[in-house]
Every structure is written in structure tokens, then in C-alpha cells.
Amino acid sequence: MIETGVAAIRTEAVTDTRIALEVKDLVVKYGDVAAVKGVSFQVLDGEFVTLLGPSGCGKTTTLRCIAGLEDLTSGYIEISGHRVADAGKSVPTQDRNINMVFQSYAVWPHMTVRRNVAYGLSNKGLSKAEIRERTDEALAMVRLEAFAERYATELSGGQQQRVALARAVVTKPDLLLFDEPLSNLDAGLRERMREEIMQLHRRIGRAAIYVTHDQSEAMAMSDRVILMNVGSIEQTGRPRELYGRPRTRFAAEFIGTTNILSGEVARRDGRHWLNVPGLPAPLALAGLDDSLGEHSFVCRPESVIVETAATAGRSENAFAAEVVSVAYLGNACDLVVSVGDYTLRVSAPGDLDVPIGAEVTVVLPPERLVRIEEDR
């Protein structure tokens, strides 16, 4: 009984997931310079997908192509199964049934909050009563009912961004696009707005594409992250996969802080070892990976264990280290330590209290050393 139930749910889930967006081999060139170099991905209905990357990686250009605010050079884009852009043709933005939240809010200063939100509905041939009802509903969603008759310029940055959110969801778009919507807000407000956007997305249930350069924003909000670099996709995956199994050196370094250990993998005594130049001893590896030769491994700072004198010496991959710097953060204590010629970043529990210059033992557990697949 239980098993058939699970199977039933699975099939239902499969038939229900429509492809909301398909981007295929997208190339955008400005003259001879390619801003986007062949990007392909899909977004399912209801999914929250983030395009993450440093400035100039092509994430905003990709988003603007999806919105129809920019022309693509080759490739194609389909929204809900309909071709909206390819090398020859382009459906104008206003006919794509999308909506967008802009980095600068783009809340119209000469209109009241209500008129801002109702703007998109006035293009849809709805009755006045219907427009009013849907506007009120959207304003209630972002808790701005009381501000409906105010002018946008009388509102704070966070409130303006909520106006922009209400305006984007009120038209019930197939795709909701976010172009770094939180980067103009200060830190505390940003976290609250994050939560608000996620709740709103869950209520609306449509596909959302969110552009940001802030990796913590991407990790916290997304179902899936598409990591971009210089116009191409580096890696796509759930936040956990991206953090836990970065496929490239760039992915490892862009998401979170990390230690990268490079060297020769050799086989000895029935297991694999990594010879890192500058480390006093080879590192034991957990997996029996067959690929020997030059490789790089990621070890996240929180995976490194700091042992005091009492417990030292019994673990594998334990090294004597000297503390170079200490940053006490309350919940954690970030250290930089030197092991031989090597400098390691360590994130220890907050209760660790060591002075600069102290001798400690650091342990790099073999199962926490993750090989980078494409070391470029």
C-alpha cells in the first residue's frame, strides 16, 4: 500500500512538472565581444532558480534576453513551450507574459503605490472591479494596504521594493524574473526581504529566475543554482551539491571560502594518497579513485578539525600548525594557520580560544577532501 502510494505521487509529480523556461545555446555578442557564450538550461514550473556569478559573467544579460529587453545573437528561448526568441525573430517583451523586479526597484515616482501595482493589469482588458480586487490582493501580500494611496517616493527602500514585488506578481506571469533585487538594501533588511520573496514565490507557485552575485543569497533562496563565469555555465545544481561537490576550481572558490590542495595522487598500501608540495606528509584520501596523477582537492574550512594537545596524534592527516591570525565571530572562530609552507583557512567552533602564534594540531579528515573534477 505504502509503496504504491509513493509511486502514485511520483508519476503525478512527473506529469505535473511543465518546463516553464528553456534556454538553449544562448549566445549574446556585442560587436566582437561575447557576453554570453552558449548557455543552456531549463527551469520547471514552480522552481526557484538562481543565476549566480561575479559581475560580467553574463547572468544579467541572460536574464534580459529572457525578458526580451536584449536581443540574442544565436540559440533560442522558449517560455511555456512557446518560442519567444531566436536568431531571426523576437516576441516583444510585453507579449511574453513575464514580469520582473529590477535592481533599482523601477517604481514609478509619479504614480501612487496603487497605480504602480495596477499598471500591468490595465493592459489586460480586465474590469475596474477586477483590477481593484487583484491590486488589493497583491498589496495585502506585501503588507502595503495602508500605503496604497501614497506616492512611491514617500516610501523607504524596502517598501519600494515590496511595491515592485506586488507589481510583478499581480499580473500572474508565467515567469517571474529578479535582477539583483536586494543589492540596494542594507544587510538586515536584505535578509527579511529574502524571506518575503521566498514566501511570495511559494504562494504564487510559478517559476522564478533570480540573478545575484551574492552566493549566500543564492544558497539560501534557490531550489537550484546556475553558477556562471565569463559567459558560460560552470556548474548547475542544488545549493548543497554546489557547496559540497564543486566541480570546478571556480565553483569551489566562488561559493564559500575554501582550501584547495593540489598535488600528485599516488597509490600506496592499498589506498590513495595526495602528495601536496609543502605539506610535511602526504594526505590520505578516502575514496579508491582510480585516476592517479595531478589533481586538486577542496577542503572547506569548517571540515578542518582543530585539536588541542590532549587529543593530538591519533587522527589521520593530522599536522602540527601555527596560528597566523584569529577572527572571533561569536558562533565560530576563523583561523588562518600555517602547516609547513601551506596556509589553511579553518573555521573552528566559537568556543575555541587560541592566541596568535599558538601551536595547534589540524586534522583534514580524508572523507572531507573532495576532488575537483575539472581543474582549470
Binding site: 516576441v91 516583444p92 523601477a106
Partner: protein, 570 residues
Amino acid sequence: MTETAAPRAGRRPKWLAGLTGTLLLPLLAVLVILIVVPVLAMFYGAVGGWDRKNPGIRFDALLEVVADPEYLWTYAGTIGLSLLIAAIAVVVGAAFAWILARTDVRWRGAFELGVIAPLFLSPFIGAVAWIMLAAPNSGMINVNLRHIFGPDFTLLNVMSVPGMVWVLSIYYIPYGYLMVAAALRNMDPSLEDASYVNGHGHFRTIMTVTLPVIRPAMTAAFFFVAVLTTGVFSVPGVLAVNDFVPIAVRIYRAATVYPTDLATASALGTVLFVVTVIGIFFYRNAVKQTARFVTVTSRGFRPRLIRLGKWRGVAQTVLVIYFVVTVVMPYAAITLVAFTPYAQTDFAQMQFSFKSFLSVVTSGRVATATLNTVILGVLAPTVSVLLGLLIGFAVQRRRGRLAAVIDYLATLPVAIPGIVLATGMVGLYIRTPIYATIWLLLVAFVASYIPHATRLSSNGLVQIDKSLEEAAYVNGARWPKALRTITLPLAKPSLLSAWIMVFIFATREINSTIILYSPRSTVLSVLTWDYIGNGGVPQAAAVGLLQTLILIVGIVVARFVFKVRLSSAV
């Protein structure tokens, strides 16, 4: 996925999609008709193209105007005159700009308005007023000084080359002032502070820092004024100096004085066009240089003001006298003469009466001209600003080759003096129903003022964040709706500035009207011209005063009802 499955029938080839098909191509067509075709028509006229009695292409008119030594002197004189006026306008304008931006003189705002006031008035009416003040025989100043210095005394003669230079300088100094003042305002004040902390005094700071930074702006202003004055017909025309007739006046004579000779007029127009195009080339180069010195950083704190000490009183006195001489005296003179029954300039014998003024301004001709002036004064800016907005919108929102062509065409009329444009339009429109109507004047005015309307609207558009319009598109609006509901309301202050500026230009226009008007489509400027030509000085004064009043009403409404900042309306 078949085509028919597309959500809406919005799929179009990219080259026709959005702005390109619905805005850029129509705009290009309008600009070609308004600007390119008349210029080509003038070239055609210069080779005898419009001459129906002698059909066929001939080059005698062109050869005459490029080979006849008399004409060559005209060109040299015209260019020399405009360079001289440009130099005066820039030097005096820069001096005023520096005093008002960098020293501690009082009543800054009032003085600024005083310096730029001539911009809002008509140079032609100014010249008429100066005839009343300083004509060699009957000029008010000369006549009344004869009471003291004897009957043979003549202090001033405005109907001379120096007179021309004087009157034109008054009306072009504001351009020099505004362009240099803008450069001083945009200059990072810390550049000067850095000179002071390095031990330089005021003089060395001006010479080694301020002047080099504003020099490109001064060069730009110089060529801008030179181009504008090269094509001015009205002032030299009305001051009628016998031994020096500039190109524009020669065009007027060839086109209107019997026997009219459109071929010569067009040939001269071609020469004038070439001269102004060369001037614009230098102007554009200078503008490129100014971009190098634009410093938008660290604005917001005021530059250090130099204490003038005892010189402050001197500077203030100079500014007051300047305002009295350039604005108060001429308009006082024209007002006095407008209310005297016959051309009486002797204070000892002056009699005033409203009768003559009223009889002039209530006559049928004046009523028609007033109505035409007001219609054109409202329609020309409205149409120009709408076109300017569309051009600015198209150029800024859709970059590319087509937009660049439109941008270029929209700035071209700066290089086409009104009288040149009109000469081209005569042959082109003579057999159309709008010939000899005010609609022909409207077409000429709109073509002439597109650059100004476009420049000011673009200034406004630059300040509107592009994403405000993109937000309209993602909310389902097409570009006309985005323009109407988002761009237009946000650009309103700049558009109002543009409107009032073109209103002033259109209300005082005479350079193209003088060629294109008919008795039905006459305007106040032309009536003044006629009255002066026929010796009706009091009538000319009355009509000139009426026109000035219309200008002042327009400016007051703009300033106090629509809150237009006048110093930005240029």
C-alpha cells in the same frame, strides 16, 4: 511547436520589431522631409532647377557667387563679423560667468537673469530699438545731447559696422555666459582648492587651473556663436549699412527684391550653408574636448568664493550698468516711441498719446499678424518638442546605425540658417496648397528648432532610469504607452524648458519668415520690418512692443505657472 501555437501574434522579424519599425523609420522619414529635402532643393535651385522660363541645369549663378570679387568680400566680411562677435560673446560671457560663479558679488540670481535676459527677447526688435536710440540723425541719444553740445553733435551711430557688432554682441553674450557658467559649475571645485593649497594665489589659480579647464567650453561657445551669427539676417538687414552687406542680407535681396533671382539666392544659400557646416565641424570638435574635462565627482560642495573687497562694488556697478544699457534703455526707448504720434525722439518736444499705439495695434494687419504669431508661438514649440521627445527616446533607447543617423539629422539644422532653409523651401513648396500659409512657416520653424527641442528633451531623458520604462514593458505596455504614461510625465520639466525656448524662438522668428510669408501669413516681426522699411517708426515701435509683451507673458507664465528654470531653458 508550430508557429500558430505562439501565445500572441507578436512575432516579427527582429529588424522590424519594437522601436525600429514603429518609431525609427517614421522619424527618419519625417526628418528627411523636413531637413534633407529642403537643403537638396536649395542645391537644385542653385543650378537653376526651379527656373521654369529657362529649364535645364546651369551653373552661372554658382559661378558668379564663387568668382565675383564683390561676393568674396561679402564672405570675408560676414565670416570676420561673426568671428568678432563670437570672440566678444565668449570673453564677456566668461568674465560674467566667472564673477557670478566664483566671487562674492551680491544678488547673484538677479544678476544672472539680467545677463541672460536678452536671450528671451528679440535681437531684431533690439536692433529696431537701437535705431531709435542711436540712429545718426534721429537717435534719441544724439538728438537730446545736441541740446548740450550743439546741433552738429553726433555721439553714436548704430547704423554702422560697429553698431552691428554692438547689437549682435548684446544678444549673443548670454550664450557665452551660459556655456562657460555650465563648465564652471561642472568643474570639480577641489581642482582650484588644490592650487590654493599648493601656494598659488587667485591670479595664478585662474591662469593655471580654471582657464585651462573651461577653455574647451569657451572654444565650443565661440564656434556656436560664430555659426549662429553667420546666418543672422535681421539685425544687419535692419541696420542697413551701405558699404557692408552680409551674405544673409544678400540672399534676402536676391530672393525678394524685384527682379527676384532664386538661382542666385540659392547659390548664396549654398555658400552660407558650407560656411556654417565648417563652423559646426569646429564646434563638434570643441564639444568632444569638453567631455574630457567633465568632472561629476565630488559635487555638492560649493567652490571657494573669492572676496572681491572694494572691487565688489565695482563688479556690481558694472553688472547693473550692463543690464540698464542692454535691456532697460532699448525697451524704454521703444516704449516711448510707441506712444508718440510721430517719430519724435527729442525729449523737449515729446508728446504722448495712446491713440497712435491703439490705432496701430487694433488695425487689421496687426490683428492678423498677432493671431498668426500666437498660433505659431504655440504650435511650433508643441510640435518641435513632441518630435524632440520621440527623437531623444528613439536615439537613447535604441542605439545602432539608424538611431545614429537620426541623431545626426536632428542636429543638422543648427548648421542651416533660417534664411537658407527658407530659400530651399520656396522652390519645393511653391506649388503646394500650404504655400503662403502659416503652415509653411510652421514646417520651417519645426525644422529649424528640432535640434534645440531634441537636445533639451534628451537632457531630460538621460536622467530617467531606463528600467522605469523596462518595467512598463514587462507589465505588458507597448512603447507608445510606456512613452505616454512613464517617460512623458517624468521628463516634463525638461520638456517644458524646451517648449518655452522654442516658444521664444518661434515668436521672434524673422530669418525664414521674411522669405516665406505672404500678406495672409504675416507675423509681428515681419510687420515691424515693413514699417521700418517704409519709415513708420512709431508703428514699428508699437508692433515691436506688442511682440515683446507676448514674449514676456509667455516667459512669466512659464516661470511662475509651470516653474520652468529659465537659466536651464537654453
